[in-house]
Symmetry: C2
Subunit: 209 residues, 2 copies
């Protein structure tokens, strides 16, 4: 059985939702960030990056959300969570998810984990100050160029949707005025109406604005 | 015909090499970063992110290196640039490439493009100071946990290899002492012996340490 290591408020929620959407047999294991359990020797043996998510499969452990989402879509093809037979469309899915992991998630992380990139307290404060602007810029680009509606890729619900939902739920906490982001807010409402989303959100105890 | 927009010294080299490895018909178009051509209206119409690479296909434009690499592997399956029939192994490829784009490339970018994340000059200097340490940490993790040898995924050469080669060629410029990184240096030498790598490197005029 698959085992998903997660912590509430992290991007692990995207994979958690995807597993629910797929009807996958899995166990969700909470990693206690409060006690820094992600840095324990026990957890580092599972994921040497000391982060979540990590998905333990019968063939080994996978990390990185875009990889986990592709794996869930391919491992449970009946759930039709990605356009697996169409290389261009599948590349569009990976393009969107890569943008979320390499640009949007990174912009967000500068508000909370600035010590990754600088040791100086004033620099870390300077990073925090820019987060509302960088996150707004990302959200606007997503609305203008990528979110086709009703789902990210258009008519087909894909693994892009739980990932956008997850990172999109951080916007208010990042100081972004989401009243201007009607596309993302509508997408969020649509997501919250899905049973799989409700189940994962409730299991994690995640706050969605 | 595919059209790859690139600039020398950027991660576009990974896709450039992959296209050569695939024997793909393509045209490489240089974007002049010196004159800020990536921010011109003409280029923003191609890629609204204002970055390279961008790959123009007959069905539209794709961005983000992990997506482009997957597309090349899937579009030219005879080149066997990814374990396409094995969801777990393919997820491992995406895991590695996601790590490069979301963590390693981002660590590197703090030395050159700190204005993405802070407006304060002192903060940008503080970011630069940390780059040698963060890049070394990434390189060590790659050697310890991911680079199986002789190629990233083991016996099969995949799209992970041009991507590691590309980002690995930035290490010296980032202040990392690569004499301690024998795995990455051997991988670099192995890559430089391939005709496809030589052709892409020479076409771009890229300096590889």
């Amino acid at each position: 059985m698959l085992k998903l290591y997660y912590a509430p408020g992290t991007c692990a929620l995207a994979t958690h939702i995807a597993l629910e959407e797929a009807g996958a047999p899995y166990e969700a294991v909470r990693v206690d960030f409060g006690s820094q359990a992600q840095r324990s020797l026990e957890y580092l043996a599972i994921n040497p990056k000391g982060r979540v998510p990590a998905l333990v499969t019968e063939r080994g452990t996978l990390t990185e959300t875009p990889s986990l989402l592709l794996f869930v879509a391919q491992h449970f093809p009946a759930a039709e969570l990605a356009p697996l037979a169409d290389p261009f469309a599948l590349a569009q899915v990976q393009e969107f998810n890569s943008y979320l992991c390499s640009t949007v998630h990174v912009a967000h992380a500068h508000g909370r984990r600035g010590t990754r990139w600088a040791d100086d307290a004033a620099a870390i404060e300077a990073m925090k100050r820019k987060v509302p602007a960088t996150m707004m810029e990302c959200a606007e680009l997503i609305e203008r160029k990528f979110l086709k509606g009703p789902w990210v890729m258009g008519e087909q619900y894909t693994v892009c949707d739980p990932y956008l939902f997850t990172i999109g739920s951080w916007l208010e906490g990042d100081g972004v005025d989401t009243t201007k982001l009607s596309g993302i807010l509508e997408h969020r409402r649509r997501m919250l109406a899905r049973a799989a989303v409700q189940k994962a959100v409730s299991a994690e105890g995640t706050h969605v604005p």
